[in-house]
């Protein structure tokens, strides 16, 4: 199936959206039908991404499976999709997480069809965002996904859901409007919204710094980076389990993807001039937020802070590039850093999703997220404890799990940049282990704490399924990360090559 004569990316994007809209019209009385359609659509979308991966040429950095059609002629905006080694893994992650969320949402009782519909629409929008090769198309997907997420948190969330969801919406919206102004300005310079044209557009250093800052606000909110992270703990705590999973596993990656697809290639000199800022913020996230996570009493909040800390690794890996190239004069170390950042994002997608699902399993039974409400869960739910401990260990970077690979690569790269970067980054190994293992000790081990815990029943078949899938992926990526790294290699090398070439004087 060379180069695909059929629009596989459009199918991956639009199938979930169309199915999601259709499900909205399924009445409450026939909720089972809605759930079945949702599962079928998400499985087909996953299958399509597997087909795309199998047909993907890992030897080139060029965009593949491209589709292009005129969308808004007057402004030469195109419906232009395509994937490379940076975006395809993230699309696959999106499709996978969608299946898991649909299965995990099987027990939802309230407005089932709307729940499933919202998740499917969200999933299609996220895939579209990763696949977009036209900046305006990207922006449309980027913003449109706020709408379903706003409703998911607001309708199915916890007691403080309204504050959380409005905060989430306004924070993200606020960040992204600056990106819109920057994109329009770039369009007026380049006469095109095509990402490839923007990558080649020469810009003065001053302009690049402004562009970079505008993008930084948008993506830093999304990642989220300290100090604009405050919406995330609220949103995570209040969101339903499925919402937390999608938020942590996929939505946070959008910020990271934005850096590698937009900020770095469009304004490389601006990024080089301001890399200290991003590296500084990343290290603050890794160390300071790590300590904050240690102090949490709410399991979801702890995982939320842990996510911020782990995403700090991703941004650190990306922005080490300039220092490494300057120190070593070679791009190998920089490729390692960015590859590590990408692996970290995928791995964090599996692990954070799995941890939120684990909390969801407990919450469904006991209706509490407080760590102190549990103790000795391993005695009554041994199988569940096995999975949960695996995921929390993976979160602390245990070798053999996917959590180790990305962190190790980024720390190795950090050594080539500056010893102190590596030193502070490596503190996560201690901090991550501390808060993860301490949580495991308090929740899973020890004596059975109370009657609630004593009456717990172990995993049901549905929960088994999602846990096994995520455990296999976590271990698989940890033991054999080569296929993923191989897939990214040409694109990352091309990216590093591009961003280390100045755009100031063409």
């Amino acid at each position: 199936m060379n180069a695909m004569n059929w629009p596989i990316l459009s199918l991956i994007v639009w199938l979930p959206i169309v199915a999601g809209v259709a499900i909205l019209f399924v009445s409450e009385a026939r909720a089972a039908l809605g759930k079945t359609i949702a599962l079928a659509a998400s499985l087909v979308a996953l299958l399509l991404t597997i087909v795309a991966i199998s047909g993907f040429d890992t030897t080139t950095a060029a965009m593949q499976f491209q589709e292009k059609a005129v969308w808004i002629e007057a402004f030469s905006i195109h419906y232009h999709l395509g994937v490379d080694g940076l975006s395809l893994p993230l699309i696959a992650l999106t499709a996978l997480i969608t299946v898991i969320v649909v299965i995990a949402g099987w027990s939802i009782r309230d407005r089932v069809s709307q729940y499933m519909g919202a998740f499917l629409i969200l999933s299609g929008l996220m895939s579209g965002m990763f696949a977009a090769l036209d900046a305006m198309l990207f922006y449309v997907f980027f913003e449109a996904m706020l709408v379903p997420m706003f409703l998911i948190i607001g309708i199915w969330g916890g007691p403080n859901r309204i504050l959380a969801t409005i905060k989430f919406f306004l924070f993200t919206f606020f960040g992204s409007v600056f990106m819109l102004v920057a994109l329009i300005w770039l369009y007026l310079q380049a006469g095109s919204f095509a990402v490839a044209d923007l990558h080649q557009l020469p810009l003065s250093l001053n302009a690049q710094i402004w562009i970079f800052l505008a993008f930084l606000i948008a993506f830093a909110v999304k990642v989220p980076m300290w100090p604009v992270h405050t919406w995330l703990p609220d949103a995570h705590v209040e969101a339903p389990t499925g919402g937390s999973v999608v938020l942590a596993a996929v939505m946070l990656k959008i910020g990271g993807y934005g850096f590698v697809r937009y900020s770095l290639p469009i304004a490389p000199d601006g990024a080089a001039a301001l890399d200290w800022l991003v590296i500084g913020l990343s290290l603050v996230a890794i160390v300071y937020i790590g300590f904050v996570a240690l102090a949490q009493r709410d399991m979801k909040k702890l995982i939320a802070y842990s996510s911020i800390s782990h995403m700090g690794f991703a941004t650190l890996g990306m922005f080490l590039t300039f220092a490494i190239v300057q120190n070593t004069g070679q791009i190998d170390g920089a490729v390692l850093g960015i590859s590590g950042a990408m692996v970290q994002m995928i791995s964090h997608g599996f692990i954070s999703g799995a941890m939120f699902l684990a909390v969801g399993v407990l919450y469904d039974r006991v209706h509490s997220r407080e760590i102190s409400a549990y103790g000795g869960v391993a005695n009554t739910m041994p199988w569940f404890a096995m999975f949960a401990v695996l995921f929390f260990m993976a979160n602390s970077g245990l070798p053999g799990t996917s959590g180790f690979v990305g962190e190790f690569m980024v720390i190795l790269a950090a050594f080539k940049a500056d010893f102190w970067f590596a030193f502070f980054a490596a503190m996560t190994l201690i901090l991550g282990a501390s808060y993860s293992l301490w949580l495991v000790k308090r929740v899973f081990y020890g004596e059975v704490a109370n009657d609630n815990v004593a009456s717990l029943s172990d995993l049901n078949a549905r929960e088994w399924t999602v846990m096994v899938v995520l455990a296999v992926l976590t271990l698989g990526l940890g033991l054999w990360p080569y296929p993923l790294i191989e897939m990214m290699e040409p694109s990352v090398a091309n990216l590093v090559d591009h961003i280390t070439t100045t755009k100031i004087n063409p």
Partner: protein, 478 residues
């Protein structure tokens, strides 16, 4: 092809005649068969559209008529077509409300048609006198419409305020026109433009004339600081009339601004750009911030109008064809969004009591999921979230402003858009996250429901397929 003057003005002549026919025919229509008046008015709009479409001026061309007082061009034709469309929607929405409120009278239709005629004349004006003629026809019809509920004290109060402030604005505009006439010696917009090109732009009298004209336009549009009348009139008028005056006249006032500023005073754009920049900035800030504090939906939408006027001004002040096209797109889209929002408000009104409080929207998603979805799309569109059409309107005016060098103003605009998103989100929150206070079913006649559904879905459809309408607007300015 040489067209006679009458042929060019046929849409206006037809609407004028039909407004009179409706007025007279209604006298012979009994209370029970008042629906006939409604049908007649709708048919008028359909035929007006057909007549307008039959004689379209080619793109980029403009034809003058009646001693160069009247102009037909693509911009005017498109605006007229959308004016018919918007007014048809308003008629369908209003009928339901007027019936329930006991205001279902023929005068509503004839006055609305006269208002439409005012818009059409203004849109096709090529002469200061024609501009003023259309403006006053529209304004006088609007004053009367606001006071259509004879027994309502708040309606009369609103009409009085509207009349006094509106007359003042007309006076100011007229004074500005007289100064411009004094300086250039002509009433023809084309000749004024030529006179300015001949190097008169530093004339003090002209500058004053321009300033007065801008004030008049700002007054009519409701730009800060000339917005005081707007929230009171919106709140005091019956919902059906608020629906009308929040949508149709905006199209006319857009044309007023473009005819006077772009066609007439285009060579003084440096002067009026600065004035509009101040008006736009103030409107954006005040409209969006004050709307947050409102608990009355009509007042909230009134302040939201003010903020949208800020965006429209942003497009005009770019003083480029792309800018005018973006303002035109924005105004057309805004008229549709505003009509839809007021329609949902009318939908929730029952037993003659207007659903004026935001709390009336509580739990709408449970009472009526479909209309809640329509309102959701209208609200997100007003907030400027893609993929709804309001986003495409916003980014075009912002792009035009950036292109004209107003980057700071563009940044201000997007920041106020974020502030504005809050109160639109609040409506969504009330509809989706809160429990309903009333369990009364939401009912409306079939035509109302059909038009509202089309209106809501248009927010999405025009967004996804925005290329078409954008192309139409861009071509309207050559």
């Amino acid at each position: 092809m040489i067209l006679s003057d009458l042929q060019l003005a046929l849409p206006e002549i037809f609407v004028a005649a039909m407004a009179c026919v409706v007025l007279v025919a209604d006298l012979f229509i009994t209370e029970q068969r008042r629906g006939l008046t409604h049908t007649l008015a709708l048919l008028t709009l359909v035929f007006a559209a057909i007549i307008t479409l039959r004689v379209m001026v080619p793109v980029g061309d403009s034809v003058l008529a009646f001693s160069e007082t009247f102009v037909r061009d693509r911009f005017g034709d498109i605006i007229k077509l959308f004016a018919y469309l918007v007014l048809a929607g308003v008629f369908v929405y209003a009928k339901h409300f007027l019936r329930v409120a006991g205001l279902f009278k023929g005068e509503f239709y004839s006055l609305s048609l006269f208002a439409l005629l005012g818009v059409m004349i203004m849109v096709s004006a090529a002469n200061l006198v024609t501009v003023y003629l259309g403006l006053e026809l529209l304004a006088l019809s609007s004053y009367a419409l606001v006071a259509i509920d004879r027994d309502s004290a708040s309606g009369s109060e609103a009409a009085m305020k509207y009349f006094i402030l509106g007359s003042l604005a007309s006076g100011i505009l007229l004074y500005g026109m007289s100064l411009v006439y004094g300086a250039t010696g002509t009433l023809q917009l084309g000749e004024i433009s030529q006179a300015l090109a001949g190097g008169m732009s530093d004339n003090l009298m002209l500058s004053f004339g321009l300033a007065f004209m801008v004030v008049g336009i700002a007054f009519k549009l409701g730009a800060v600081p000339f917005h005081m009348w707007l929230p009171d009139v919106y709140q005091g008028a019956p919902a059906a009339v608020t629906l009308l005056i929040s949508s149709l006249p905006k199209l006319g006032y857009l044309a007023l601004a473009i005819r006077l500023l772009a066609d007439g005073m285009g060579n003084m754009h440096a002067d009026w750009q600065a004035m509009l920049a101040v008006l736009a900035a103030l409107s954006l800030i005040l409209g969006n911030v004050v709307a947050i504090a409102q608990s009355n939906i009509k007042r909230m939408l009134a302040y939201s109008t003010i903020s949208h006027v800020g965006f429209i001004l942003l497009g005009i002040l770019a003083a480029s064809p792309a800018g005018y096209a973006s303002a035109m797109f924005y105004t057309i889209v805004y008229a549709m969004m505003s009509a839809g929002a007021f329609a949902v408000m009318i939908l929730l009104s029952g037993n003659g009591i207007e659903a004026e409080n935001l709390d009336d929207f509580k739990g709408l998603a449970k009472r009526s999921p479909w209309y809640a979805l329509m309102m959701l799309m209208i609200m997100f569109s007003l907030a400027g979230i893609p993929v709804f059409v309001g986003f495409f309107a916003k980014w075009q005016v912002i792009a035009a402003a950036i292109q004209a060098g107003f980057v700071g103003l563009a940044v201000l605009a997007v920041i106020t858009a974020v502030i504005g998103a809050f109160y639109y989100l609040r409506v969504v929150k009330l509809m989706y996250f809160d429990e309903p206070e009333s369990t009364a079913p939401v009912t409306a006649p079939i035509d109302f429901r059909a038009v509202l559904s089309v209106n809501g879905l248009a927010m999405l459809g025009l967004g996804i397929f925005s290329g078409g309408l954008i192309g139409v607007c861009v071509r309207a300015f050559g």
